[in-house]
Amino acid sequence: MSSHEPTPKTRKPGERLFTFLLVIGSVYLFWQAYQIAGFSDLSSAGAFPMATAATMILAACFIFVNTLKRPTSQNTSFFTHCFPPIVAMIMALILVYAVVLESLGFILSSFVFLFITIQFLYRRRMLTTLAISLFSLIMVYIVFRLIFQVVLPEGIVPERDIIASITALWR
């Protein structure tokens, strides 16, 4: 099929380490699977996990050996082509966002997250970014919190009181 990517001739930086870690991880998981019931019975709780972990070890070893056979690609480095700073930075931002989500609440943490990431990726004037992130946050809030009734972490913003006072104004 033409949709397939051709098998690359060279290996990417970090590929050797990644596939090696997969082998180690598979072996560890196999050992964990063995701990469930050992080789006691083919219909035991551990039989199927052991079979899958064994398949993983076989496949991972095969991939690892194949990776070793290919030459390292020239002109590529791990930190520019495979794991550029932008990806690392966004990953870190997401991590921080997830950590503070429950304590700060959805509105505040999401707003800060959107503002920083959009400013960082879209690179427009501060005010434009502010408007975009406010608008999209309001849209998300209306669609998911008010229409879909999804429970979102409230945090330090007294969200329910605000909504209650707004609806009170309406009446």
């Binding site: 964990q32 709780a45 991939i63 997401i94 997830a98 990726l121 999209s136 999804v150």
Partner: protein, 502 residues
């Protein structure tokens, strides 16, 4: 009569009608915007809709699925960027048509033919599924086990560059699915003594991580792509054109249904096969293929929408997903307490006819939305990635949190997101992982049932496989896939048996 009643359910209820319309509308945009995929959208939607009534949730998701498969063609024609994998073949002739100033006509024609394909797919689903379900009741546990393995292997071998990577991903998914207390013996599996892991890892968190976060992270590398605007003229296609290409559309629709119904193959492969068929069967095209032949636009568009109906056949009758999107769908059905498989048709026939009616409705909405609103469309599609990607992250995290209101799911989602990023980076397909997670319980249970009925003897299990034609066929297919991908085949057997094949 009952069937008709259930069929019309989503047509007559204003709420369901509106949700299907909304779903289809969203689906068209999700499919069209490069960077958003149907799999991603349905994964996130599951988490938001899981407290809903099952009918409402299904209406929305069916609409997104149907609309998304169609929507990919829009950007393929206008921007030469397929919005979805199933639109790759559409871009081959669709974009040249747009460059000639015929973008409107191309969109109109592909809309009509997508709808034709969609209807044929649904028709085949309605006619074939009941008898397949009857047949499926006679399946033995070993057959189910092999079907599960076959599905994962097919996706693994078709979706990536190497079968080993596909198998690794599939096995990894199966293993993730076993985490938690064993449903049969309550033994702890991979819990590491942590009580939170007793319920296992939530499949929705895995899905959002692999299809939401990891895909968005991957796209950070291709942030700046210039968008070329196309002029859009008339959209409603000429009747003479529709008449002329209808036979081709019907033929390729049947290709689409069959390819879609096979476990492991979906719309993308159906579209490429249909394109190939059109190329070979059209003796004298008005315009050469690749330079804006309408045949090359119609064939893949009919086929990929027909494949939706086809993909529902194994999903509803066997509980076996055909590809990543249907795997996510099965996850949604499980969450709503439905158990896809042969018994679904017996115990809840209304679900089947409801789905058929709903698919039909979504298909009609494609026709309506497809031929209108093009101005709005070209505005939204130009939404810059710098805004889109942060929103995907936001929705992924909130979606993962909303499943159980638990931050644990968010951590799992992020872990799989990061792992998925590296998997994609080094050429591992992520589709088989999700297929494995969904099929894990089915394969595990049926393996144990099969081996228990043989009193623990593997030799008896294999011996009895040869007494049933179905088991033999399944076993042979699995062996064939493995053999054709090994060096033994490509170096020794293939040159001898097929010396002329390239």
């Amino acid at each position: 009569m009952d069937a008709l009643n259930y069929f019309a359910m989503s047509w007559l209820s204003p709420e369901l009608l509106a949700l299907t319309a909304l779903g289809t509308f969203l689906g068209i945009y999700v499919g069209a915007i490069p960077g958003l995929s149907v799999t991603m959208a349905v994964s996130i939607l599951i988490s938001f809709t899981f407290s809903w009534d099952v009918n409402n949730a299904l209406c929305l998701m069916v609409g997104v699925y149907m609309g998304g498969v169609y929507g990919g063609s829009r950007t393929a024609i206008l921007l030469n960027i397929p919005g979805a994998p199933s639109a790759i073949a559409t871009a081959l002739d669709g974009y040249p048509l747009a460059k000639k100033g015929l973008a409107g006509e191309a969109i109109g024609l592909s809309t009509v033919m997508s709808v034709v394909g969609g209807f044929i797919g649904i028709l085949v689903l309605a006619l074939a599924a009941p008898s397949i379900a009857d047949f499926a009741i006679t399946f033995q546990p070993r057959d189910y086990m092999m079907l599960g393995i076959l599905g994962i292997m097919l996706v693994g071998s078709l979706s990536g560059s190497s079968l080993a990577k596909g198998i690794f991903a599939g096995a990894f998914g199966l293993l993730i699915g076993t985490v938690g207390l064993d449903p049969m013996t309550a033994d702890e599996r991979f819990t590491f003594g942590i009580i939170e892991l007793w319920d296992g890892i939530n499949p929705v968190a895995v899905m959002i991580g692999l299809f939401g976060i990891s895909e968005a992270l991957h796209q950070l590398q291709h942030m700046d792509k210039a968008v070329i605007k196309q002029k859009i003229s008339r959209i409603i296609p000429r009747l003479s054109d529709v008449k002329k290409y209808l036979p081709l559309s019907v033929r390729t629709s049947f290709i689409g249904v069959i390819v879609g119904a096979l476990p492991g193959t979906g719309g993308d492969i159906a579209a490429l096969m249909a394109y190939d068929h059109a190329k070979r069967s059209t003796k004298e095209p008005d315009v050469a293929f690749g330079e804006g032949a309408k045949e090359g636009l119609i064939a893949p568009e009919s086929a990929n929408n027909a494949a939706v109906g086809g993909a529902y056949i194994p999903m509803l009758t066997l509980g076996i997903p055909g590809d990543a999107v249907t795997a996510v769908f099965i996850g949604a059905l499980f969450i709503h307490g439905l158990n896809p498989g042969p018994l679904l048709m017996v115990e809840q026939p209304h679900m089947f006819w409801f789905t058929v009616g709903n698919l039909t409705l979504a298909n009609i909405f494609i026709l309506i939305f497809g031929l209108t609103g093009i101005k709005l469309f070209s505005k939204i599609v130009e939404c810059p990635k710098g805004i889109l990607i942060p929103l995907i992250f936001l929705l992924s995290i909130v979606g993962a949190y909303a499943i159980n209101n638990a931050i644990t799911d968010v951590w799992w989602m992020l872990a799989f997101g990061v792992f998925g990023y590296f998997m994609r980076l080094y050429g591992f397909p992520v589709g088989p992982v999700i297929l494995g997670v969904i099929l894990s319980a089915l394969t595990d249970e049926n393996w144990r049932r099969a081996i228990l009925t043989e009193r623990g003897s593997v030799i008896d299990l294999f011996a009895h496989m040869f007494t049933s034609p179905l088991s033999v066929v399944l076993l042979m297919t699995i062996v064939l896939i493995l053999v054709t991908k090994t060096p033994l085949w490509s170096k020794v057997i293939k040159p001898k048996c097929f010396p002329n094949a390239s």
